[in-house]
């Protein structure tokens, strides 16, 4: 078996008396889509924040690309190749679509302490940005202000920005939300191809998308992973049906 790109070991985090993550371990291997599902309030976002470095776990380690990154900042982890997309869009809303993509390329290139260049006339940055926009299908909206995009388009732009970072793994927090049936289907197709460039840790509520994309699924309930396995295993797991899928159906 290949080494996991991302390897989370025994993360535990509590807020006061509330345990948000209880001894969570999971891995992300090259080429796979690992879906993390669970009801609202299960601690998915808390977990992503600990992996990305926004929250410091009480105990446990995060290994990424063969290194222990537990003590690195969010920015340092991103530079190492964690390409993250957010559930609540964190794009620069006053910037145009193209500017957001250029921002990604600029952050990736790293020479941000230049004071008299013109970032938006830098052909390398523009090329990287335009190529990313093209891949997600936003090239025709490049001059639109980001705040004027639909929610679905913002999700696409989040992915485009992540692409400019040439990440080694994607952390995607609900990329399908707000897309509609057709948009979801197109994004599923896109992500299916994307996994070969870098594996995807996918948090998603859209079960159709999860079942058609995921190689593995982990189910998080009350801060604990209650089951982890292939799509078939999770579909037939009684605990999961009781704790999660049953709840959805009712």
């Amino acid at each position: 078996m290949t080494e996991p790109v991302l390897d989370v070991r025994g993360l535990t985090k509590s807020f006061g008396g509330l345990v948000a993550s209880r001894n969570i371990s999971l891995g992300l291997r090259p080429g796979e889509v690992h879906a993390l599902i669970g009801p609202n309030g299960a601690g998915k976002s808390t977990l992503i924040k600990q992996i990305a470095g926004n929250l410091r776990p009480d105990s446990g380690r995060v290994h990424f690309d063969g290194r222990d990154v537990s003590d690195l900042s969010t920015a340092a982890r991103a530079r190492m190749g964690m390409g993250r997309t957010f559930q609540i869009s964190s794009l620069a809303m006053e910037y145009t679509v193209l500017q957001n993509a250029v921002l990604g390329a600029l952050g990736h290139r790293g020479d941000i302490f230049r004071f008299f260049n013109r970032a938006m006339r830098d052909s390398d940055l523009l090329e990287a940005a335009e190529s990313a926009l093209e891949q997600v299908g936003l090239e025709e909206f490049r001059s639109l202000r980001t705040s004027d995009l639909s929610h679905g388009q913002r999700r696409q732009l989040e992915i485009a920005v992540a692409l400019t970072l040439s990440p080694k793994a994607f952390l995607m927090d609900e990329p399908m939300a707000g897309l509609g049936a057709e948009g979801s289907q197109r994004l599923v197709g896109f992500l299916d191809g994307l996994r070969h460039r870098a594996p995807i840790l996918l948090i998603e509520h859209d079960m159709d998308a999860v079942f058609s994309l995921a190689d593995r699924i982990s189910v998080l309930v009350y801060g604990e992973i209650i089951a982890s396995g292939s799509v078939e295993e999770i579909r037939s797991n009684a605990d999961v049906r009781a704790a999660y899928l049953g709840e959805e159906a009712s």
Partner: protein, 327 residues
């Protein structure tokens, strides 16, 4: 050409034509007013870099303005009393040369902003506002109790400092110097706003998460912006003290911080030329309302309240609409 560009050109022309006309008709007071507007504009541009581009609500920029003022006052004081500023570890003499004073003011502003910023930027939001305010007050009380340089009474200098080839005591020539500096500062800040640094900084104001997600740390951006901001405001302080040939703790007071903020807000937060419009409008209001009523602060307060509650884009937001994306 966008409406904003037209507005910028019109504003800069007006700011040049009024004092030139005043010079022609021998109205030195008007020239002085225009010079004040220009200097306040520079101070506001400095703050705007932190506040408008970085979203750092500094309520302590009087610290840098005042330090610039005291850089001028102290150097000129030693020069006119023929005493050394320091004899150990190196001998430092006073000076009456404007360019040297400017460099010292810029350096003092930058250094203070670096230290205050490094401490204050550990905090966020309302803490940051209050801490910058508190650091400003700290310098204010320090200046008041520092009797060697006049304490509460401040420092006067007899003759305005010199600039090679110009008679700085002539109002129009001093105006020209300030106007030229304003142009340099404006053009530089305009370039910085579009640079890699500026682009990342403005993104940090909109979303820190975004900046971190693309692999950059907001703190270093903020600290750099704050330091440059302090340097520019320090330069304005030196010019202001030179205009008045006087520096006192008032320049360091929290009201001064508030006024510098007003220049930025009246003009339009985050617009490169906004503080120029804001400062000009402030001077215009101060002169017209202050002339007709001794209670002009009531009107100023009411106008400010109106702008904050109902016209948040300031003059630029009102006249030029929302900012154009630059691509």
């Amino acid at each position: 050409m966008t409406r904003e560009t037209v507005l910028n050109a019109g504003l800069m022309t007006l700011l040049l034509v009024v004092p030139l006309a005043a010079w022609t008709f021998d109205e030195p007071f008007l020239i002085t007013l225009a010079t004040r507007a220009v200097i306040f504009a520079i101070a506001g541009i400095g703050l705007n870099l932190a506040l408008g581009f970085g979203g750092l609500v500094s309520f302590g920029h009087a610290a840098f303005f005042g330090l610039g003022g005291y850089a001028m006052g102290i150097l000129a004081h030693h020069a006119q009393t023929y005493t050394a500023l320091a004899t150990w570890p190196v001998a430092i003499e006073g000076t009456k040369s404007m360019p040297v004073i400017w460099l010292m003011a810029i350096g003092a502003g930058a250094l203070a902003a670096l230290v205050i910023g490094a401490l204050s930027l550990r905090t966020k939001g309302v803490y940051f506002i209050m801490i910058t305010l508190a650091f400003g007050q700290m310098l204010y009380y320090f200046a008041i109790s520092w009797s060697a340089y006049g304490g509460e009474d401040g420092l006067s200098i007899y003759v305005r400092n010199g600039f090679p080839g110009l008679n700085t005591m002539d109002p129009i020539q001093f105006f020209a110097i300030c106007y030229a500096l304003l142009l340099i500062v404006l053009l530089s800040v305009n370039r910085v706003a579009q640079s890699s640094f500026g682009m990342m900084l403005r993104a940090a104001r909109q979303s820190e998460d975004r900046v971190q997600a693309v692999g950059q740390a907001p703190f270093r951006l903020y600290l750099t912006a704050f330091t440059i901001s302090g340097a520019i405001t320090g330069l304005a302080g030196a010019l202001f003290a030179d205009l008045n040939r006087f520096v006192s703790p008032t320049m360091l007071s929290w009201q001064t911080s508030g006024e510098i903020m007003i220049f930025v807000i009246l003009g339009g937060v985050g617009r490169v030329f906004g503080p120029v419009a804001g400062a000009a409008l402030f001077i215009l209001l101060e002169h017209s309302l202050g002339g007709s009523s001794e209670y002009w602060h009531i009107y100023l307060g009411a106008i400010l309240l109106g702008v904050v509650l109902f016209a948040r884009g300031g003059l630029y937001g009102f006249l030029a609409g929302r900012e154009q994306a630059d691509d």
